[in-house]
Symmetry: C2
Subunit: 328 residues, 2 copies
């Protein structure tokens, strides 16, 4: 059996670099992808703390190249192509798939999250239908953001953000940064509120208004608030900042139960929208056009050999995106 | 100073019938209303347990007649008219009022809930603009349901319930019953899930499908779920029953914080809609047309002299609406 290096969340609850992890075998209509770069996401960290109760190769953000295609007659032209990939592996047969919601497939596995080994490894497998070719002018260190950028784009598929909308993003981390970059393209009145002067500065450099959290008292009410802190206190603050009949977008998953007051949702008749995975095509178009900037969001890059260090680094407060080069 | 009888939640945290409570004086453009009947709502009970931190005359559901109008030149024709009333007293000047959301006025007082004495008394005051004339063929014991029935109608102003929609209502109490009666008028596929065979039977008599909570496992997924239990366990059950991208209507207020898992809202990309006060005109039309039935929802009627007993009765498990005749 061929083996490879992979960063694994093991049954003992440890995150370890395994050097002899079984190389994944593509199922029919799947591709074997040689990973170039993989990104570490807050969800990976949540998983390493027990969220989802899953064990295996971590990681769901990546850019790589197609190394093999199973049952791939006529697909030789795909070999070596640079790809990014949607993370939900759908059954295609359940009521949700048939209703056009494959990312909500009841029988799905999810790359690096649930039942399917992830991207922090030399190789991964995904169905061909999940893969998207990367435009030539998009570099690997931009393309590796496709998945979280698509997730930011998901907001615009769910909520009607208008040029006159007053919009606040809570959180200046990776997710908040991506949401802000996408939302500002609508021309809306955008304010990002966060705790880190240096991270907010990245946004100000792009002409986006910011406030430190402790300066945000009395900042008024917003038509749309995007909660991207993933904390119960962020949720409470977000509820307080939405105007009556306004929209609160929950963009973060939360590990464990939150102790929150639900009554203001009722009293203010708030429209709360849970938001998860999004469309890759718009994300890749934004990258191709160069109207979003990913590289400033990279805090550090590591080799796969140093992936354990990378995973520790990603958990250090103040860190934005940590990238792992899975060829090294 | 003229006084009256009133059921008061006092500073000592007790609910007491006061026999010499100051009679309210109408402010300009307000009417003095002699209360015929008042209803006891779950919110009144929550207030008597500390929700809102307010003390005063309880009650916000009523039907009565106009006894006086302040600055009422030309309004003599209103005297003696039977009315019901919207409970939010708006300032008319704040940004929310100017945005057409008087029921969300930032400076509002609320009848029997916040800063304005309520309806469990011989008299109350409300702005003329809050009052709605009761059609002649609607009896007092139907009209007293106008406010909660309007609140049920609010769902249809917020959510597009279609004839083919699969809809579940969780909770067979007063609010669940009213929501179910209104929702079924859309022709939707409606199922009410509750804990009380006798209450569910009221719905079945109207041709509405029901299930006992303990029989509802594996009942499938719904496009729209209305949470009308007001409990954290109801919230959790409701989240589990909504299909991905479906809508969860939160109709109950919750006293205190709830310990809930917010992640499924994100993972299933649920659209949660907080829903509170609704439009009186449609509610009165439904009553006038006789296509909703209020009387079966009355568990007991008391005199105002016995209002303390009535308030205790309303807290007895299994009770639907308790009505107080404020003329007795």
């Amino acid at each position: 059996m061929r083996t490879m290096k992979a960063l694994v969340y093991n049954q003992a609850g440890q995150v370890r670099l395994e050097r002899d992890w079984p190389m994944p075998q593509p199922a029919p209509h799947q591709a074997l992808v040689m990973v170039h770069l993989a990104g570490i996401c807050a969800t990976d960290i949540e998983i390493s703390r027990g969220y989802k109760g899953w064990h295996g190769v971590l990681g769901h953000e990546f850019v790589g190249e197609i190394a093999a295609v199973r049952d791939g007659e006529g697909s030789e032209h795909l070999l070596g192509q640079r790809v990014v990939g949607e993370i939900n592996l759908a059954c295609g047969d359940c009521s949700r798939c048939l209703a056009g919601m494959p990312s909500h497939c009841a029988n799905r596995t999810v790359l690096g999250i649930q039942g399917h080994d992830g991207s922090l490894a030399e190789f991964l497998t995904l169905p061909l239908i999940n893969l998207h070719l990367v435009p030539d002018n998009v570099t690997d260190d931009e393309a590796v953001f496709s998945e979280p950028l698509a997730s930011a784009c998901e907001i615009l598929t769910q909520v009607d953000v208008q040029p006159a909308s007053r919009v606040a993003v809570l959180g200046d981390g990776k997710l908040g940064q991506l949401c802000a970059q996408v939302l500002t393209l609508t021309g809306c009145q955008l304010l990002v509120i966060g705790r880190h002067e240096d991270k907010l500065d990245l946004l100000r450099q792009r002409g986006i208004a910011t406030l430190l959290t402790n300066q945000a008292r009395g900042v008024g009410e917003f038509d749309i608030v995007v909660e991207a802190t993933g904390s119960a206190s962020g949720f409470t603050a977000a509820v307080a900042m939405v105007r009556p009949h306004g929209t609160l977008v929950l963009k973060s998953t939360y590990a464990g139960k939150a102790h929150v007051d639900l009554s203001p949702l009722v009293v203010k008749e708030i429209n709360l929208v849970g938001s998860r995975c999004g469309p890759f095509d718009p994300a890749l178009r934004l990258l191709k056009q160069g109207i979003v900037a990913m590289r400033p969001l990279i805090s550090a890059a590591y080799s796969l050999d140093d992936a354990e260090l990378a995973f520790q680094h990603a958990q250090t407060p103040g860190t934005l995106k940590v990238i792992v080069d899975c060829r090294l």
